[in-house]
Amino acid sequence: MIKKWTDDQEKQIRLSKLSFAGTAPLADFSPRSRQLPLQPLMPRTRLAKKQKYEFEEVDTPIGRVIRASILLGATSSTTETPAMVVLKSLVDALENLRLLEAIYGYVEGNTSKVVAIADDLSSVQRDAIWRVNLDFQRRYPNIDVDIRILQRRGRALSDVYEDDGSAVIAREHALV
């Protein structure tokens, strides 16, 4: 049966265009057992080359934030604040864990915030993410580095996290 995506998921698919980069094999983590069948968020695609970010400042209900979007092959011409530099590096580090289905991030002033989404993570897997948070916060004490983990537990992405105007860095996790 072909799954119909919600409008938000369609938008995110168009925004991300391709799956995230990386050629390393998936980490050998076994997901915890679930009561609900696994529902892939987005179609499977082949791994792509490293993607470049394009940032723009937008006014949102939460204030002036930096919206990040993915442009394959593009280079950013926007002046990057320290928090934006940290955010991109943080997203890269989280992607390297190969645990997440989607990553949403935004910069607001000196805050670099990431919402990391997966269907279900074990405590060991979550610890791997928290250690990234620890590492980045220690390395960048002048930036507020914050990771929030949201687990879908079988729910649709639109039920877990709505784009309320915050900046989005959407990734597709290439499932093998």
Binding site: R32, S123, R126, D127, W130, R131, N133, L134, Q137, R138, P141, D144, V145, D146, R148, I149, L150, Q151, R153, V160
Partner: protein, 121 residues
């Protein structure tokens, strides 16, 4: 700002509520939340001893991320605290009912935090 002794009292009080909830075997979301707040005051006892008085969760996160506290507490204890906070947010705002595994994870993390803080002179 509360002294170490005040945090100790709050830690103990939160523990009583947590024990009642666990014994009743009901409201896993509130067990998760109560466990987090017990852990918070365990950490705050230690921070107060070092003249640190964070005014927000973000400030506490920054303080705990410092090398000094990762060494004193160990990185595992700090990640335990981060995970407990995240779980409490799920229970409070995401309407996620913790599973038995989630609750056991939360209580195990609390036990590690309490044991570690108690062992630090």
């Amino acid at each position: 700002m509360p002294k170490e002794s005040a945090h100790q009292t709050q830690w103990y009080s939160n523990g009583l509520i947590l024990d009642d909830l666990v014994n009743a075997n009901r409201f896993p979301d509130w067990i998760t939340i109560a466990a987090f707040y017990k852990a918070l005051h365990s950490i705050e006892r230690l921070l107060a001893r070092h003249k640190e008085h964070p005014k927000s969760h973000a400030e506490r996160r920054k303080i705990l991320s410092q090398t000094k506290y990762q060494t004193l507490l160990t990185a595992q204890i700090v990640t335990d605290y981060f995970d407990m906070y995240n779980a409490s947010l799920d229970a409070r705002y995401e309407c996620i009912i913790p599973t038995t595994t989630d609750v056991n994870d939360q209580l195990a993390r609390l036990a590690r935090i309490d044991a570690k803080v108690a062992s630090i002179p």
